[in-house]
């Protein structure tokens, strides 16, 4: 068991013929991901790593059953491509692309919600169920199979947290990158619900970041409904207020969305909060044993 993806998941790659699309397709195949088709408008009939390429998602779903689409498309066509995947009936869409206009993201998010589609991203490293399936750009050598679920607002931090857990022999059920933009297609709390229902996941680790109120919302869900122990870390406690640090997610405005307000909300919900990244493994270890 795992969430969102497993060894049977059939994957479509949109933007498969681009540089990043092709490179990452190779890496995903190496991890056992069942990629059945690719789409790039105008490149229909070509093959990438022996995978057939089509012009439209519609053509793909007429020929194959697709569970997940992962997108490596330019930001300016991201909205079009996501809506194309949703209209073709695909229920999980993972948008890796960085720098998508936020107004486009708002439209995609609203449309996905309307069609009951899980949209992960943009600016996400994707999802990995170690040993079974990888959808996205996560470097697989940082992960190993196990029972800890990880949800991270930051891509690179999800790698580090997983690697540090592996170093003490703790593997992961599924690792989900939320996407680091101002607006995320799916929020923390929605992924938390999936982990709560997953039999194999014993402990969940949340890697949050300053900015927004997603961690505060997650804390409320944990307090009222979560039946599994949760460990959390919020990056950016030493970030000076008012500085824009990298992706749009990491902005501190006033007191809202600060590391302090998130930590307080999580502690109140009974979450074990790591003050520093390196405290996560020992906190998790206590809970899995």
């Amino acid at each position: 068991m795992s969430i969102l993806i497993n060894k049977n998941t059939k994957v479509l790659v949109q933007g498969i013929t681009g540089n990043i699309g092709t490179t990452q397709t190779k890496y995903m195949l190496k991890e056992g991901t069942k990629i059945v088709a690719g789409v790039t408008p105008g490149k229909g009939g070509e093959r990438v790593e022996n995978i057939p390429v089509f012009d439209t998602v519609e053509e793909v779903v007429n020929n194959f059953k697709i569970d997940v689409s992962v997108l490596f498309v330019p930001a300016r066509v991201a909205k079009d491509s996501v809506i194309e995947a949703i209209d073709a009936g695909i229920k999980v869409v993972v948008l890796i692309t960085e720098h998508t206009p936020v107004h486009d993201v708002m439209e995609m998010k609203a449309y996905a919600l309307q069609k009951k589609v899980i949209l992960i991203g943009p600016t996400t490293p994707g999802i990995i169920t170690p040993g079974e399936c990888k959808v996205g750009i996560l470097p697989a050598n940082m992960f190993s199979p196990g029972t800890v679920g990880i949800i991270s607002r930051s891509g690179t931090l999800s790698y580090e947290v997983a690697a540090n857990l592996c170093a003490i022999g703790i593997g992961q059920s599924t690792v989900v990158g939320m996407g680091a933009d101002r607006v995320a297609g799916t929020n923390l709390v929605d992924i938390l619900k999936l982990f709560n229902e997953d039999k194999e996941t014993k402990v969940v680790v949340i890697v949050g970041e300053v900015g927004g109120t997603q961690e505060e919302d997650a804390a409320e869900y944990i307090r009222t409904e979560m039946s599994k122990p949760v460990v959390a870390y919020i990056a950016g406690a030493s970030v000076p207020p008012g500085k824009r640090m990298g992706h749009a997610g990491a902005i501190i405005e006033g007191g809202k969305g600060s590391a302090k307000s998130k930590v307080e909300a999580l502690l109140t919900a009974g979450v074990k909060v790591a003050n520093r990244l390196y405290e996560i493994p020992s906190l998790v270890k206590e809970l899995v044993s």
Binding site: I20, Y27, M106, A235, G236, A237, V239, H247, L277
Partner: protein, 380 residues
């Protein structure tokens, strides 16, 4: 990208939003010319992109046409937080009966635009929201639909407006939302929106911040932004890298914002160490980008060391390592450097870095690399 007030006002005007008469002056003489055209009293406003310009003396009311030139000269010469004004905005002063706050922004968690009105304008909106939440009226907009003016009537009534003023304000709110949407706004704000003694409604201030990621849809704004950037900044922006200058002694390069923040937290834990900058490469590392990053970081005064923390997911870190090695060789750098680099093609990356005597940490814990850095520098 935050626009100047005069630029935002030009856009608002195009949409039929009421702005007091006036214009931008680049010289004191031009300011006087504008003032004599529209008549005194006028408000002279410094056009700088930093907050707190009123307190710094950048906004002045002038009743006498003969002193406009002198006051405009003072404002044009005034530096606010180190920035010189791009010009002085000369606006006809309006007679204030009531001030309202109007803002449109994005609710990050739900991912929808929000219109906010407050019956108290010209003040810090956060304070009012805290003190008198009943004075605030909010409307969430479905991003998939247009906003129709009838939807706005209720929220405008809630801040106490009626009759003609209600209708005029509803028009402005609806048009401002159109600006927000058409210009890929992150924030569109009017503080205050003024109701005058003769029942006109004017925007007396104009804020418009445009999403940088959407500038490809706004070539005229993008052109202006690029004209203010160095060649290196343009290259960094193109690759999606972000550099923020801080005050510290450790140069930092990380391949992700979260990783960079977590690394900063750990370095800043040492009382005698602090990060001199924040630099995240984004997902487009190349050998050349890394040279740009290194040059930026090394330019900072008082550096004790450079700390590099990279993951090879989407990033070809083996290419990044070549850039680091090139600049070390070329400039014969001797500053201590510690690098942790993991992920796809990590072995090649380590080899390249070790050849140029970068201290390479091969474990996954950033903390161990930071500890190594501290020991290398002999600090606790």
């Amino acid at each position: 990208m935050r626009l100047h007030e005069y630029e935002a006002e030009e856009i608002f005007s195009k949409y039929g939003i009421n702005i007091p008469q006036g214009g931008l002056a680049k010289t004191p003489k031009e300011a006087k010319q504008i003032a004599s055209n529209i008549g005194v009293p006028v408000v002279l406003k410094s056009q700088v992109l930093v907050g707190g310009r009123g307190k710094a003396g950048g906004v002045k009311v002038v009743d006498d046409l003969n002193v406009v030139e002198r006051v405009a000269d003072e404002i044009l010469k005034l530096k606010i937080k180190g920035y010189k004004a791009e010009g002085v905005l000369v606006l006809k002063k309006v007679e204030i009966k009531k001030e309202i706050y109007l803002g449109i922004t994005i609710d990050r968690t739900s991912g929808i635009p929000m219109i906010i009105l407050c019956s108290e304008g010209g003040v810090e909106i956060e304070e009012v929201a805290h003190r008198n939440p009943e004075k605030i009226s909010k409307l969430a907009i479905n991003p998939l639909q247009n906003l129709y003016s009838y939807q706005v009537i209720d929220m405008v009534k809630k801040v106490g407006l009626t009759g003609k003023i209600l209708v005029k304000t509803v028009y402005i709110v609806t048009k401002l939302y159109q600006v927000f949407k058409d210009y890929d706004g992150l924030i569109a704000e009017v503080n205050p929106l003024v109701v005058t003694k003769d029942d006109e409604v004017f925007c007396v201030d104009a804020v418009l911040q445009v999403d940088d990621s959407a500038l490809f849809r706004h070539p005229e704004l993008n052109k202006r932004r690029l004209s203010n950037m160095s060649e290196r900044d343009k290259r960094l922006m193109k690759k999606g890298a972000t550099f923020v200058k801080l005050k510290g002694n450790i140069g930092l390069i990380c391949s992700g914002a979260g990783l960079a923040m977590a690394t900063m937290d750990m370095i800043n834990d040492y009382p005698s160490l602090s990060t001199a900058n924040f630099l995240e490469t984004g997902g487009g590392i190349t050998s050349e980008l890394m040279v740009d990053c290194m040059e930026l970081v090394l330019k900072q005064p008082g550096l004790k060391a450079v700390f590099i923390n990279l993951y090879g997911g989407i990033n070809p870190i083996h290419e990044g390592a070549k850039g680091i090695a090139n600049i070390i060789k070329e400039r014969k750098l001797t500053i201590p450097m510690v690098a942790k680099a993991l992920g796809n093609r990590q072995e090649e990356t380590w080899e390249t870095l070790e050849e140029v005597e970068v201290h390479v940490i091969k474990e996954s814990e950033t903390q161990k690399a930071v500890k190594f850095l501290a020991e290398l520098l002999g600090v606790k």
